[in-house]
Symmetry: C2
Subunit: 166 residues, 2 copies
């Protein structure tokens, strides 16, 4: 039970994109450089975020990625599901229907109680993630981060942000 490292990357990228002016974009190359990760692999996850409707992608020169909707409407759950997929972590293989005491399928009208319990716990997990939105995370981060970092990041962003003329 290990989450993909891409989840962490995607959340950090989304938070950074949330700090940009409305409509501005950052290229995948810039996002990779800022976080010190491989560009080729990061693109894989950014693509997933775009496919899920969390990011908008702009092609061509001066293109890049931007949030598809306001940061307060993007939750951690949205990002986790986009990167990891929406299939539950626990997948019941119905072993109760196997072995010497197995009956025909019609004898199991109710779902497996173990599966129900595991999915209920996973629902609690998802609810907790759904309650965390990018806006709140960014606010908490800005309030506790080292001022020097904020200044450095602001300077770096000013040299890498693309603002379309339209």
């Amino acid at each position: 039970m290990k989450l993909s490292d891409g989840v962490e990357w995607a959340i950090h990228c989304a938070m950074l994109l949330g700090a940009l002016p409305a409509g501005a974009t950052l290229s995948g190359k810039a996002l990779a450089e800022f976080h010190g990760v491989a560009e080729s692999y990061l693109l894989k996850h950014l693509k997933a975020l775009a496919a899920a409707g969390i990011l908008d992608s702009v092609t061509g020169p001066q293109g890049g990625y931007r949030l598809a909707r306001p940061a307060e409407r993007i939750s951690l759950l949205d990002i986790v599901l986009a990167v990891e997929g929406d299939r539950p972590a626990f997948r019941c293989t119905e072993i109760r229907r196997r072995g010497p005491c197995a009956l025909e399928d019609a004898a199991y009208p109710r779902p497996c109680g173990i599966n129900t319990a595991m999915l209920k716990a996973e629902a609690a997990y998802r609810d907790a993630l759904a309650r965390e939105d990018l806006k709140s995370l960014s606010a908490g981060f800005a309030g506790t981060a080292d001022p020097r970092f904020l200044a450095l990041a602001q300077a770096w962003l000013s040299g890498n942000t693309r603002i379309p003329k339209s």
Copy 2:
């Protein structure tokens, strides 16, 4: 983010062991046969449960496994952690300290907010699992299962249960 199939196997085995008289055991071979899974691989997980103190193992002929404590004191969380390990699913790699805006380690006195949020959600997941104990699951199962299955299982158990003389 996929849980090991062994989790499902382990929970089913623990529930079956909980249905036995106090002190009685079932061999790994019997548990594997009842659930229709590979014995060799199931033993791997049973060993983990024994190492975690959830099961007691009895070696030698007429040996097997039994619950190490009453079913109402064994939660799904205990089993999941024993099989999957107690490391959190989300592991922060501190990418915030990388890239062109990185500072020295002393500049990050607080834990990463993203990590905090992810771990909080995972805590909710674990709390939900901790609330589900084997006794309640077994009761719910016995109340909804097909009567024919219960009879078959009882007959099968009577032929495979080992009760030590001591």
